[in-house]
Amino acid sequence: MAKGQKAALDAAKYRRFYEQMVHIREFEEECLRAFQRGGHGIGGYLHLYSGEEAIAVGIIGALDLSAGDCLIGHYRDHAYALAVGSPPGPVMAEICGKYDGCSKGKGGSMHICDAERGFYGGYGIVGGNVPIALGLGWALKYRQQAGVAVCFFGDGSMNQGAFHETLNMAQLYKVPVLFVLENNGYAMGTSIERSHANTDLTDRVSSYNMNRKKIDGQNIVTVYEEVSKIVADMKANPAPFFLECDTYRFHGHGAADEAKQTVVYRTKAEIEAAKANRDPIAIAAEILLEAGVITDDDIVRIHEEAVVEAKAAMKFSDDSPVPPADELLKDVYA
């Protein structure tokens, strides 16, 4: 669906999607500010989702998590938790290494999860989560449950052998996994032109005879409507599907290379142009205003609420204790 296209949209649903996108954006920006000012316990890696919000929100919005649909992510994973409805406080507390974090502070930013809501977690090895998604889908098939397992990964994952073993097996067994490529053009600091012999990444999977499609990942209406159809088809006729979402990340690969990115692998002008023309929140606002789903006042109010929520999440984290020493050796074995 193109910008400016009039459509009858489910107002309540899209208002919620818009709110989620704005809340995720503010959450991520709060993380970045906290990382930069220090003092909140954030160390190590912090990979932010800003610019890609329509993908997590639109896809997870098309799932029925209470009926067995599930998802698995990679290390840029805060948004998946927020989109499945995890309370922001424990997500922030995890990022800050606090005991009230969703993984008790043992996983950090890259290992957010929510077992109760079907989010099987974020993983730090590029491509490493993809074979596990095969197993999540396998369990659905094994139990003859009509669900789908969604696997989020980036363009870098497609150059790992694990990815290709998984796609072959998924198609061979007709396992209901929706493989979602979040193609933001860069695997860390390496552009797809410098890392893929064929930069048409949807074409790259054609050898697996898998159903596949490339969509605009910046348009929430497109993402939600396309994925709703795909998921319905997958449930009617179980088989995997490869979905490429064209997107852009507004920040560096991680918060630590925020300053370096424009020096070594992409220009400030490119980032500014993407922010001006490809911001999924601005695109959503334009479509939803035109469709009468939200008003200018709503936009202001939603943004203010998101700021308050992000600050409350940080306050929750700041108030949470660090994990007690006796947690060190717990959880290694069941």
Binding site: K106, Y120, G135, Y142, A162, D331, Y333
Partner: protein, 338 residues
Amino acid sequence: MAKLRYIDALALALREEMRRDPNVFLVGEEVGQYQGTLELSKGFLEEFGKTRVVDTPISEVGIIGLGIGAAMAGLRPVCEMMRMDFATPAYDQIVQHAAKIRYMFGGQFQVPMVIRGPSGVGLQLSAQHSQAIEVLFAHIPGLKVVVPATPADAKGLLLTAIRDNNPVMVLESLRMYFMKPDDLEAIQPGLSEVPDDPDFSVPLGQANVLREGKDVTIVAYSWMVIQALKAANELAKEGISAEVIDLRTLLPLDMNTVLASIKKTHRAVVVQEQWPLYGCAAEISAQIGERAFYDLDSPVMRVTGAFVPMPYAKNLENLAFPTEVDIIAAAKRTLGGK
């Protein structure tokens, strides 16, 4: 009690668990239509169907990943590596994912899976199919490592491993697979006996004193247990009484049984097929040094494989892994011999 071959004991445990628990399934290369490369899963496809006996492409990463995801979702996969050597392409899935998922998600998920297959040196299989790599897994928190030496333990430990709620590596001894019960009985009576109880299981982390003795403790596992028993038989002819301990599992590691034995014998020989440096024998020797130094009458001896990729030529291969001759020599050295 039935007298079984090791491979039949393994197959029995797997079949019984698949019959008992519909969440258990077998996945691996050639496990179904081909009946298993060593025919361990003969008849399984017919009995359980292709959803529970899953033939895969030669894609170890995919096999282990499928197992991890299915285990997280509540099933109990048994992933067969045609040979445990082929776990190395999937090392990322095993070490970075299976082993760590429970911890790094604060206990929200568990990964009740078994990764099993034949392992160990010998049979002129050459460098890439003849090695003992258990230490690569025994080093990793979050995994359990099981190394059965006898038919009874093959059944009892595999059954326990399948019921365990953690990722368990079961490294089976290829050289033991087809050992005839009579040949095992000739080494030590009872060695091929497997209890008839279908629920017979062996707990993980409990070493077994397979032969009692008073002069020297020989600590071994897997195929080396057989060598140790042969060595003990020979030593007995010379009036030396050797106690043989089968570790059964490397992670968890039962040092208490080892230390109690050393309190009695005051001497120790630790045997492994592995390469010597940083191996399981090194760990066990170090723990003996830390915890039983004053019980020792002589230095702890290690008997290990040579520090080389396994050669093909039979004469060279024979030099590359330990036999009862090496164990006898080491035992005598602890007793002051040369």
